[in-house]
Amino acid sequence: MMEHVFVEMINRHRGIIYKVCNLYGLDQEDKNDLFQEVVLQLWKAFPSFRQESKQSTWMYRIALNTAITNFRKASRRPESRGISTDEFHIPDLGAYPEEDEQMSLLKRAINCLTEIEKAIILLYLEDKTYDEISEIIGISKSNAGVRITRIKIKLEKIIKSDRYELR
């Protein structure tokens, strides 16, 4: 019973996990490993989820926390078998640069950000309010506002220089 509710929730919000994996995973294998780790952490935390916050907010918090904190500590990670790329594929952001110049530019720009900045811009792009961003990331509302402004400036600079290089 619990498993069905969990699978349903994962599927309803699969985009959240895909986005986080795409932002933090280096290659397809890395993304798949991260996906697996995020699902595990969600499953572990699922029994204690009390619906006090929105499902999406809760999922973002756990997925980003896993991506930033746990996943980067590769040396502490126990041995595990990654899910096969044959049975699973995470749709890539900017996979077809010739078709989606804007998307690949966006990907390149986001890749230049730090781990925390990536998390913040992801939530900003998702139209999350400052309240939600501060709740998910665990920073104050005013700090979230300041950081978003800084990241926007940084992104604009990156995009401009990227465009300049392309010419």
């Binding site: 619990m2 699969r14 595990l40 126990p78 041995e79 595990s80 804007q102 998307m103 966006l106």
Partner: protein, 206 residues
């Protein structure tokens, strides 16, 4: 491209993701199962490390026993050292048996429920032996610290102080080794396996 265009590109990506196929229930279930595999891999690794460590201790204590660097004059003085060496041998032996028993459990081939039940029984069975052996090791180490004391040479206070200092070092090293090898959390590990088993029963109610 400005930030508004950036948002447009993101929305485009979002709608593409929304159009992707639903994730297969089997894939999600297999990810949850992976946790048990990871836990077993961690235990196997820990056991291998401990076998090497206790083999080294056995050889080292063997040299101490036969070389007599503490200048023991009576047979009774040898007892704590002999007990310590023997418990190291027993420890390495039990760890090796537990490691072999865990190796025999194949999570890929067997039914995972059965494998977990088998792992829990191996873990609990050898866990008890190892716990008692560690206790014997601890007390014989404490006794050893007193048996190497030399009151006639250094006087009562210095000897007592050095013996106590040695005891403190032993307590700390046991604690540190327990923490380092996650020995202190071994009970939690068994609980983790039991929780995995319960979860698996939820996943496969048949």
């Amino acid at each position: 491209m400005n930030l508004d265009e950036l948002k447009t590109a993101w929305r485009e990506y979002d709608s593409r993701l929304a159009a992707t196929e639903e994730i297969n229930q089997k894939v999600i279930a297999s990810m949850i199962r992976e946790r048990s595999v990871s836990r077993i891999a961690r235990i196997r690794k820990r056991y291998t490390g401990m076998i090497c460590l206790f083999s080294f201790y056995t050889v080292f204590l063997g040299f101490c026993f036969f070389g007599n660097p503490f200048d023991f004059a009576f047979a009774a003085q040898y007892l704590p050292l002999a007990a310590l060496m023997l418990s190291c041998i027993v420890m390495a032996f039990f760890l090796l048996r537990a490691r072999i028993a865990l190796n025999e459990v194949s999570l890929d081939k067997q039914n995972l429920n059965e494998a977990l039940v088998q792992i829990i029984s191996v873990y609990v069975k050898y866990g008890k032996f190892l716990k008692y052996t560690v206790m014997v090791m601890f007390f014989s180490s404490i006794l050893l610290s007193f048996s190497i004391a030399k009151i006639p040479e250094y006087g009562t206070w210095i000897t007592v102080f050095s013996a106590l200092l040695f005891c403190a070092v032993i307590v700390f090293s046991f604690y540190y080794a327990g923490k380092k090898t996650d020995w202190l959390n071994s009970g939690k590990e068994t609980e983790g396996f039991r929780a995995d088993l319960e979860e698996l029963k939820d996943l496969n109610p048949q």
